[in-house]
Each structure stands twice: as structure tokens, then as C-alpha cells.
């Protein structure tokens, strides 16, 4: 979601990003806390925001609580971090709990983004955690061993640790027995880590470390923000502007306020909130409120109009240049064949199954906020600002969320800001702002719509001599604090990632960007730029292969000479899919390769055509994500990414009719269903490289793989998404 480009830029924090950072420890009530003391005064001042921050707390009751720097929206990072910690700590897996950490960027700053801000996104969770959580686990184990050595008066070297027990010859002791003593010891700073060949958890399959939350999630016991119960908790539903940018002129809530259970109807900066004692009453009362909107500054265009403008711009020279190597102009002039194609990508909603929500309570000058805190430091500051307190008076409860896909990494903290504003307006009473599905779909934050115009030249031998791509669409980061680090020479890296740098050896290449402005609020959507760039690039490469009369896999491999990892991924996928084997009649294959967030994925889709739509039967996926910390979770994320991406390219789009979002629910905004899910085989390349993320990279290749298979079947190129839009039939 938030790509790694923040590294080496404004947000860089030398403390958190330093590899051998200093660990601290403290005795806390009931045990030992590791990761306690940040090194610098600046970091310590920030650390004051959450006095309980740490990486690992070991209680006298043997409970091991791990505080995750990343929130879990289903991508499985809690499981990954627990695996990293326990590889070194060697607790009993059943002792381990994972909670969301917050309020201490010195500890939790996202290393992948430069280290100064805590956040989840850009598939950085595993790479960011790989070093520090193993070190924290190892430091804790060393301290426990040292404490046991003192207790038994034996050399530390003779003590072994297994499943939460410390052993010296025939004597055993649990972690809990020595945590008090361990907490008084100095924290070892030179913490040796296990060698990969000694790992027993990392890289092993699921039989060894069971995902500890699967049972709760299969029995309805996993709590989400929507499930939190508090004394006196109220429910608020929002009335958002009917068009983006409209402002409240007047509210008539007389009728609503007289209804059963209604507590208040309040105006807040983002709209009007109807507060009641339960959801149904809030919903009924909302219907009785009339709001007069000032729409003078609102977006009133339809998407057809917006897209027509994009198409016109795409044929003009781009406003900014992202890549320019060689000379594409002369390459095209001398080419034997020049191909052109224009692609159109719609706005997409994240449509996580748990609609957006947050809970706030303000009591005695303290603010508490429950939510999917994907950027906790930012939300702490936002909540403090609204409530008029300092950030250290804000406590966050980091909830697991029912999906996310980027939607909760929102810089203005939208629903969080609403919850705090509403609570403030009703005297600090605890309130959950719960969006309905329609609110969630219509209140904005979409994957931006784009048009790509591509042009490529082949010489007489079928070699690519020139490649040009002009991308037109909105910037995700413009106007946000991320702009400084992520917009370079007028190019928002999130608009061009997956297009501006390609593994293919093109002698002449030019990528241009024209950034547009609309009133439609946009955001990162699982795999961000590569959700559109990979589709355009990989289907156009396929066109070139066809034009050159070459096999699409062989054509790519020829261009991947300088990128052995990419080539290996593609070869593995081809081999496992039986690319060279004939298919049964009516079945067709397509291939695509994409790197996103440093992870390389190739997918081969096997389809038939039903009606005029592709039916995807099987997807063979090969992935190189460095060391796969939890191989089964890597598989799960590839499966999920494929299903998520497939639904989007086949069926999903958000449209505007004179500024109003048309789709409100899963009837208009269609997503993948079970009967449309292909069988997926995932093959992980063995690797000794440091791990890279997997939450997003499964998404980009599926669209072009299916489109290329569809071309093999029908000789038709689908260049405007989704597949099922009327123009395509």
C-alpha cells in the first residue's frame, strides 16, 4: 500500500532503521519487557506516548505477548512476527499472544519506509520485522538463560531452552519463574541470531506452527471494531456529502431526534452523524434527517466525462517524464513494426468486508480510539488535535480488521476523525461510527482511474527496439505529507511503479506521466500502481510476442537476460503449468510476470470462454519473496491476491453519474464469488535472500495472465476494464 520509497527520504530516522539498534528491557508489572528503551532523547520523548510499548512482554504466568509493529487485516503479519520472535525465543507456541503495538515510532517505525513513522503497507511487514523481532526474541532468551544460570548457579552455556522451558540436565523451570530476575539483568546488545540451517520454524510448513487465530476466526470469537462492547457505547451512522466536496449548509433533524433511541444528531467536519443507542435505530433515524448541501465546490462530472478527458490527454505529450533511456523517437522511426494500444482502468473500491468503523471515547481529558490503526502515529495526532489534548493523552486500541486492502492506511484518518469528532460533540460519550456498505462504497477513497497509452517498435527480427508508455491519472500522495518523499520531478512514484522500471531489456524506453486532478478521493489499493501498470505492460508485451511470432514465455525470457531472478520465476511457473504441454480443447493459457514491492511473481492462467467471459479454471503461480518465513501464508496471500485481483479485472468498477457514485453495494460493485475462484497452485522459489512482502504482489499478474489467455482463446484484446463492461461484449 505505501511503497518503500519513503526510505532514504525525509522521514528517515537513523535510530529505528539502524540494523544493530539498541534493545532495552524493563521490569513491568508481572514480567519482563523487551525492546523498551529507545536510544535517543527524541525517540524517548515520543516513546512517552505509550509507556507500555515494547516488542515482547513475558509474564510471570508464562504468557508471551508480542507487540506487532504492523496491524493485521488478514494478511497474517501477526503470525509472521510471532514466528520470527519464537524462532529465537523458543517459547511454547501456545503461550504466545500478539497485540498491535503503537505509540512509539522509535520501536515500531516502519523500517521499509525509513523508520520514522509506524505503519502497515507496501508489503513491508515482514522485511521490516525480520531483523528486529528476531533480535528481540534472542535477547529475551539470553536474559532468561542468564537468570536461570544465576538461579541454579550453573554456567549459562549448559542451559537449554525448549517450548518455554529452561533446562539444566534433569532440572526444568518455566520462563515465568525467572522473568523477575531476568528483568534486572543488563540487556545483551550483541545478540547472535541462529543460522538459517538451524531454523526450526522459519520457512517450515503450517503443521509446525499453527496460525493461532484460525480457530477464533472459525468460531466467531475473533473481535473486530464492529464487535467491541463498552458500557454506554452508542452507535453513529454518517451522512456524507452526496458529491465529493459538497458542504453542509443546513440540517433538519427535528423528526429524527424525536425517534426512539436517538441520542443526538450532530454536525462534524466530514458530514452529519446520527447517534443512537443501536445501529438499527441510528439507520432509521438517518432516513428522517434532511441535509441541505452546498455543492458549489463539488465534483459534478461523470466518469465517462473524466475518462474522455484522460483519453484526450493520453495522446498528448506527458507533463512529466518518469523514465527516458535512449531515444524512442528514432527507434520507432527505424522500426519494422510499430504497435499502439490504449488502456482504460476504472476507479475501484476496496470494499473490505468489514465496512469502515472506529470507536472513540473522551474521558477526563483522555481519548481512547479503537480501530484498524494502520498508521497509528498519524491517528494519535489526529485524535489529539480534534479532542484538544496532547498526543500522550491518546490511547489506541489496535484492532484486527475484516480486510483492508489499503483502505485503512488513510492519511486524514477519515472514520477515526469522525469517531473522535462525534464523541467530542456528545460530551465524550463512547461512540462507534459504523459505515454501512453504501457509505463505505460511496464515501470515497478509490484506486484511481487511469488511461495508459503504449507504443512499441519491433525490428525485422522481432526484437523490441523501443517502448513508450504514457500514464494519465490522479496522484495518490499529492496533497499529503507523503508528497515530499514520493513525488519526484512531478512524478508520483505510485502512479508509475511497475511501468517506469521494467526487468525487460529495452534499448530505448520512455515513460511519461500526466497527473490529473478531480474531486474524487483516491488511495492505495492492494498492489497500488502495479494494479494497472502490470496489466498494460504485460498484455502489451504479449501483443509484441504475437507480432514477433514468438512464444510469450520465450519472448520474455529473451528480454530477461540481466534479471536471473525474474527469469527463474517465469521458468518455474511455465514448468509447473506445463506451458509446453498441449491443452484439452476449449482451454487456453496466458502468462504474466510482475515485480512489486521487491517480490517477483509469475502467474499462468488456464481459461475457457463462457458466453463472452473468461472462466478461469486454474492458476499456476511462482513467487520469489526471498526467504519465505511462513510458506503457507505466502501461499494464502498468493491465493487471496489472485482472487482479489481476478474479481476486480472481471467485474469491478466504481462509476460516477454527475458526481454521484453509482455503485452502492455488492450488486452494482461486483466482486469474485466462490464459483469463480480458480484452483491455485503456488510454487515458492527457494531463496537465501532477505524476505520481501507478499500481501500485495500476488495481485498484479492475474489480470494480464487472464487477458492474455483470453486473447489466445478469442483473438480479442481487452483494453478497458473490467472485462464485463458492455463495450467489451
Amino acid at each position: 500500500m505505501i511503497p518503500r520509497f519513503l526510505a532514504d527520504r525525509a522521514l528517515k530516522d537513523p535510530v529505528a532503521s539502524r540494523r544493530g539498534f539498541l534493545l532495552g528491557a524493563a521490569a513491568v508489572t508481572g514480567g519482563l519487557m523487551i525492546g523498551f528503551a529507545p536510544r535517543t532523547a527524541k525517540a524517548q520523548a515520543r516513546a512517552g506516548q505509550n509507556p507500555f510499548a515494547g516488542y515482547i512482554r513475558i509474564g510471570t504466568d508464562n504468557t508471551v505477548t508480542i507487540f506487532s509493529a504492523h496491524m493485521d487485516m488478514g494478511q497474517g503479519i501477526y503470525h509472521g512476527i510471532a514466528t520470527l520472535v519464537n524462532e529465537e525465543l523458543m517459547a511454547d507456541w501456545a503461550q504466545i499472544r500478539v497485540e498491535g503495538g503503537w505509540g512509539n515510532p522509535g520501536l515500531y517505525g516502519n523500517v521499509g519506509w525509513g523508520g520514522a513513522v509506524q505503519g502497515t503497507g507496501g508489503s513491508t511487514g515482514t522485511p521490516s520485522s525480520y531483523d528486529r523481532y528476531r533480535r528481540a526474541g534472542a535477547a529475551a532468551r539470553l536474559m532468561l538463560v542468564q537468570a536461570a544460570a544465576q538461579e541454579w548457579n550453573v554456567p549459562a552455556a549448559e542451559i537449554e531452552v525448549e517450548k518455554g522451558m529452561l533446562r539444566h540436565k534433569a532440572r526444568y523451570m518455566s520462563f515465568g519463574n525467572v522473568v523477575a530476575r531476568a528483568a534486572a539483568l543488563p540487556v545483551p546488545q550483541d545478540v547472535p541470531l541462529k543460522k538459517p540451517e538451524d531454523w526450526i520454524y522459519i520457512g517450515k510448513d503450517r503443521q509446525i506452527l499453527r496460525k493461532y487465530d484460525s480457530l477464533a476466526k472459525s468460531t466467531g470469537r475473533q473481535n473486530f471494531t464492529i464487535d467491541i462492547r463498552l458500557p454506554g457505547l452508542l452507535t453513529a451512522v454518517m451522512i456524507h456529502p452526496p458529491r465529493f466536496g459538497a458542504k453542509v449548509r443546513a440540517v433538519d433533524a427535528t423528526r429524527a431526534k424525536a425517534m426512539r433511541g436517538v441520542v443526538d444528531v450532530v454536525q462534524v467536519p466530514r458530514g452529519v452523524a446520527v447517534v443512537a443507542d443501536n445501529m438499527w435505530r441510528a439507520l432509521k433515524a438517518r432516513e428522517a434527517v434532511t441535509v441541505d448541501w452546498d455543492e458549489s465546490g463539488a465534483e459534478t462530472r461523470s466518469t465517462t466525462e473524466i475518462m474522455a478527458g484522460y483519453h484526450a490527454l493520453a495522446k498528448q505529450p506527458g507533463k512529466a517524464v518518469a523514465t527516458d533511456t535512449g531515444n524512442v523517437g528514432s527507434a520507432f522511426a527505424s522500426a519494422a513494426k510499430v504497435l499502439e494500444a490504449t488502456f482504460e482502468f476504472p476507479y475501484l473500491a476496496h470494499a473490505a468486508l468489514e465496512p469502515m468503523n472506529a470507536i472513540a471515547r473522551i474521558e477526563n481529558g483522555r481519548v481512547e480510539v479503537w480501530g484498524g490503526h494502520q498508521m497509528p502515529d498519524v491517528y494519535q495526532a489526529i485524535a489529539a488535535g480534534i479532542a484538544g489534548v496532547t498526543p500522550d493523552k491518546v490511547t489506541l486500541h489496535v484492532m484486527k480488521t475484516g480486510g483492508g486492502f489499503g483502505r485503512r492506511a488513510v492519511i486524514d484518518g477519515d472514520v477515526i476523525a469522525e469517531a473522535v469528532s462525534v464523541s467530542k460533540a456528545i460530551g465524550g460519550r463512547p461512540v462507534r461510527v459504523q459505515w454501512t456498505r453504501e457509505d463505505d462504497m460511496r464515501a470515497g477513497r478509490y484506486r484511481p482511474a487511469y488511461v495508459h497509452y503504449l507504443k512499441a517498435g519491433l525490428d525485422a527480427a522481432g526484437n523490441v527496439v523501443g517502448w513508450q508508455n504514457h500514464i494519465v491519472g490522479q496522484s495518490i500522495v499529492s496533497g499529503t505529507p507523503f508528497e515530499a518523499g514520493m513525488v519526484k520531478n512531478g512524478v508520483d512514484v505510485t502512479s508509475v511503479e511497475g511501468a517506469s522500471e521494467l526487468p525487460y531489456a529495452f534499448p530505448n524506453m520512455r515513460v511519461e506521466l500526466t497527473t490529473t486532478t478531480t474531486g474524487v478521493p483516491v488511495l492505495w489499493w492492494r498492489a497500488v500502481g502495479s494494479t494497472h501498470t502490470a496489466y498494460a505492460v504485460e498484455t502489451f508485451i504479449d501483443e509484441l510476442a504475437v507480432a514477433a511470432g514468438k512464444d510469450p514465455v520465450a519472448f520474455r525470457l529473451d528480454l530477461l537476460k540481466d534479471h536471473p531472478r525474474h527469469a527463474a520465476v517465469l521458468k518455474l511457473a511455465a514448468e509447473k503449468a506445463g506451458w509446453d504441454q498441449p491443452l484439452p480443447p476449449g482451454r487456453f493459457r496466458g502468462v504474466a510476470l510482475a515485480e512489486s514491492f521487491d517480490t517477483i511473481v509469475a502467474e499462468i492462467a488456464e481459461i475457457s470462454v463462457e458466453g463472452n467471459q473468461p472462466k478461469v479454471h486454474r492458476v499456476t503461480c511462482a513467487v520469489d519473496c526471498g526467504i519465505a518465513v511462513n510458506p503457507d501464508n505466502v501461499r494464502a496471500q498468493m491465493e487471496g491476491g489472485i482472487g482479489f485481483g481476478l474479481g476486480a479485472i472481471l467485474k469491478s468498477r466504481i462509476t460516477l453519474d454527475q458526481g454521484r457514485v453509482v455503485e452502492g453495494n455488492f450488486d452494482g460493485y461486483e466482486v469474485l464469488r466462490l464459483d469463480e475462484m480458480p484452483a491455485v497452485d503456488v510454487h515458492i522459489l527457494p531463496s537465501t535472500e532477505a524476505p520481501t512482502g507478499v500481501g500485495e504482489p500476488g495481485v498484479p499478474p492475474i489480470g494480464p495472465a487472464v487477458a492474455n489467455a483470453y486473447f489466445a482463446a478469442t483473438k480479442r484484446r481487452i483494453r478497458a476494464l473490467p472485462f464485463n463492461r458492455p463495450e467489451n461484449s
Binding site: L215, S218, T219, G220, L353, F644, N665
Partner: protein, 151 residues
């Protein structure tokens, strides 16, 4: 006053009769395992069993459940439920988990009626239950695994 049974317990609720069962369960009784996803019978997150039949609780009013037996995820029990939940856990089906109460109840109801469901049976029974994390391949595998365990 509406009376009905939830997970074997008699409930008497003084709530509006047009309130959807979903909100009565969640806000009235405090059973939050049943999830809200769409409110329009389009996603299946709110699935409960009404007299054994999988039903979208967002689209059935309290009035219509008077005197009936409701089973929510919290009350799922018995051989089939156990087999389903074990298979779900063994295959690590859930990602975010938000849809899974509905998926599990739909699977229980399918396997209660049909001990050897084919892929087509699974498609027919579960395609109304959306999973935005797209855990579908594992859902399918877990239904087959539960069926094997029950055989």
C-alpha cells in the same frame, strides 16, 4: 415483546418488530459472531440458521422469527459443526476472518443435508457468501475435508 430461541436459549426482546434479526442479535443480545457486511442479502456475512435453514439475518425481521429456533455461530455444535471447524482450522482457511462465521454456517448447513457434496454442490451452497480475502479455494478444500471426516 418478541420471543424466539437463540442457540437453545429463550429470548424475549422489547425491540422494534421491523428490526432485522442481525441487529437484534448483535446489539440486543450481544452475540457479535454474526457479522454485518452489506445489509442487503448480498454477502452472506450475517448468515444464521433459522430452523436449520441458512438465512441472511440482515433481511429477516424480528417479526418473522417469532417462535423460531435460531442458531448463530456461537451456538454451532454437533458432529458436523465440529468437522467443519476442524477442517477450517487445519487448512488455515481464514485470512481476516470476517466472512467466516457465515461461511462456516453455510458449510454446516450444506453438510447436514448432503454428506458428499460435489464441487457443483459447494458452488451452489456457498457462492452467496463473499470472501473479500478470496479464501475460496481453501473453503472448498475444507468442505471436502470435513465431508471426508464425516464419512
Amino acid at each position: 415483546m418478541i420471543r424466539f430461541s437463540v442457540n437453545g436459549q429463550q429470548q424475549e426482546l422489547d425491540l422494534e418488530t421491523d428490526m432485522p434479526l442481525l441487529w437484534a442479535l448483535r446489539d440486543g443480545i450481544g452475540l457479535t459472531g454474526t457479522k454485518y457486511g452489506c445489509g442487503q442479502a448480498l454477502c452472506g456475512a450475517c448468515t444464521v440458521l433459522v430452523d436449520g435453514q441458512p438465512t441472511r439475518s440482515c433481511q429477516i425481521r424480528l417479526l418473522d422469527v417469532a417462535g423460531r429456533q435460531i442458531t448463530t455461530i456461537e451456538g454451532a455444535s454437533g458432529k458436523v459443526a465440529e468437522a467443519v471447524q476442524q477442517a477450517w482450522t487445519r487448512l488455515d482457511v481464514p485470512q481476516c476472518g470476517y466472512c467466516q462465521s457465515g461461511q462456516v454456517l453455510a458449510a454446516i448447513s450444506l453438510l447436514t443435508e448432503n454428506r458428499r457434496p460435489t464441487d457443483a454442490d459447494i458452488d451452489a451452497a456457498l457462492s452467496g457468501n463473499l470472501c473479500r480475502c478470496a479464501t475460496y479455494a481453501r473453503i472448498r478444500a475444507a468442505v471436502h475435508e470435513a465431508a471426508r471426516a464425516l464419512a
